[in-house]
């Protein structure tokens, strides 16, 4: 154990921090400005100008197929939306997809994260299977699942048949098509949720579970009383971005059904894409985008309030 070594009395002045690093000890405010600057600059460069252009365009009557020059149209584009049934249908579809897939992905993601957090001896297959769905490019995920749900060559119907059920012609019915899309989205995005939640799970100290165990809390109780509250920040982050991306749902329905049958599975983002890229009606497309942005902002605001009440 302790031996009696005495520290030598060397009274050399210690190396002081070099003078040139003084600026690193800025006041909080100056430091904050400095730290936020790169993010701010990037966002300004890549987003602010384009967005201003977008908002400006939304007030123009600018359809490249009309052959007419752009002219200021005030709120005309926004007014048009009101009696555009496709706008309402796609918006409704978008909201429905959001309402179904966000909680769905959250639950599946949470479950996957909890499973993946079990003490496996070899970790990598678990991590890998958690990440693969996320690493599959979105557009191809749509194609692959369209194929899975194919009524003849799809593996889903194959499994159904093997289990003794009749195969379903998924894309012949709006409801089944919608279901197939939602399932695909949930599968694809749950790994994003799981990833964020898993990272959150790993920062919860084990000693808290020990304390709860001694306190008599069972697994379920521990989950609700410790895991979930401590995961809240991670979950909110995941939810915010999942919701925003859900509102922007595009690739998967685009690839799986192209919005069909009819327009029954088309989303707002698809409609925007159609108007801007396909119909070249930039004015109207921009107005739609602005509406979608407003929608996302509302949702974000709600979530942010959730974060704030935490403090």
């Amino acid at each position: 154990m302790a031996t009696t070594t005495t520290l030598k009395a060397t009274d050399t002045r210690e190396h002081q921090p070099a003078v040139w690093t003084r600026w690193l000890d800025l006041s909080d405010r100056a430091l904050a400005v400095l730290l936020l600057a790169p993010a701010g600059l990037l966002l300004a460069l890549i987003i602010v100008y384009p967005v201003c252009r977008l908002i400006y365009t939304s007030f123009l009557n600018l359809s490249l197929t009309s052959g007419l020059p752009a002219e200021f149209a005030g709120l005309e584009n926004y007014r048009l939306m009101i009696d555009d049934p496709v706008f309402w249908e796609t918006t409704w579809n978008t909201i429905l997809i959001t309402l179904i897939t966000v909680p769905g992905a959250l639950l599946l993601g949470l479950a996957l994260a909890l499973l993946a957090n079990l003490p496996f001896r070899t970790q990598w297959p678990v991590r890998l299977s958690l990440l693969i769905p996320w690493a599959l490019p979105l557009s191809f995920a749509g194609l692959i699942f369209a194929w899975f749900f194919h009524s003849e060559y799809g593996v889903v119907n194959d499994v159904l048949n093997r289990l003794g059920f009749e195969g379903i012609i998924w894309f012949n019915s709006p409801d089944w098509a919608f279901a197939a899309i939602c399932l695909t989205i949930i599968w694809k995005t749950s790994s994003f949720m799981a990833l964020i939640i898993l990272a959150g799970l790993q920062t919860i100290p084990r000693s808290l579970y020990e304390a709860a165990d001694v306190d008599g809390a069972g697994r379920l109780r521990q989950f609700f009383e410790i895991t979930l509250p401590l995961l809240k920040p991670s979950i909110v982050v995941a939810l915010i971005f999942r919701t925003i991306t859900a509102l922007q749902t595009f690739d998967i329905p685009y690839m799986m059904t192209g919005g069909g049958p009819g327009t029954s599975t088309a989303t707002l983002a698809m409609y925007i894409h159609q108007n801007t890229v396909s119909f070249l009606d930039l004015g109207y497309g921009s107005a739609l985008a602005v509406v979608m942005f407003a929608l996302s902002m509302c949702v974000t605001a709600v979530y942010l309030r959730m974060i704030r009440t935490k403090e």
Binding site: L24, Y49, A199, R206, S234, F241, A289
Partner: protein, 284 residues
Amino acid sequence: MSTTTVPGSASFLSGKPLRVIAAGILLVNGMFPALWILFTSLKTEAELTAKPITWIPHAPTVQNYVQAFSDQPLHIFLFNSFMVALLSTALTLFVAVLAAYALARLNLTYRGLILSLIIAVSTFPLVTLLVPLFEIMRALNLLNSWTALILPYTVLSLPVCTLMLVSFFEGIPRDLENAAMIDGCTRMGALFKVVVPLCAPGVFTAGILAFVNAWDEFLLALSFNSNPSLRTLPVGIQLYQGEFAFPWPVISAALVAGIVPVAILIVIFQERVVSGLTAGGIKG
């Protein structure tokens, strides 16, 4: 943190059977589609339309891979994707770490507002910003360069990474950072030498998110880099199809070739992220 073996509560309910079931669920959920693509890539087109459908290829062939690599310069696509994703991930993490630290630790007055702004940015669908972005890239003379993709990809992942890191940084006891500052670190030193390593699982996750976001992106890559030698994988894979033809087996082979590097990367990195690091540092 219960990644090491098994004391206390962990040992009783997460016994072997549960772990086996869990592993099964995870593997099927995650791997099935990937495996399906792998199997497809080994099938001939004829087998694809055979009925009833086959799961495991009857006569596996590597022909599709040969074709995938000979029809298009797949290795160039892979290299471009990899570099662009890697660089933009590095940039994203750097910028996000700085911003997240400011938001998590500096008691800013407008914290809520800044957070909202950062999130607001990600609520614009990229499609709608394509043309102005193209103009910016052209003005900066960046068209047909990695940078043209790295910058927007960084912005694409920045909000989610920042927000995530904020919540992680808030979970690190301030005293650890304090100790580092007493030990002679600047705030930034404390951030990079203590806080960031301690948040490794979070930083890793953020990195994966950024990487995959960049790895997957199609639209910008298609629009900004028309030079064939700068094409990324998602754009490249589209080239296997014709106006009408969609050769699934070859495309599957290309997809497999695209997934494998990411998978390897994940496997390598996850070994490095030792979880459970925050144990024992602090009383409380």
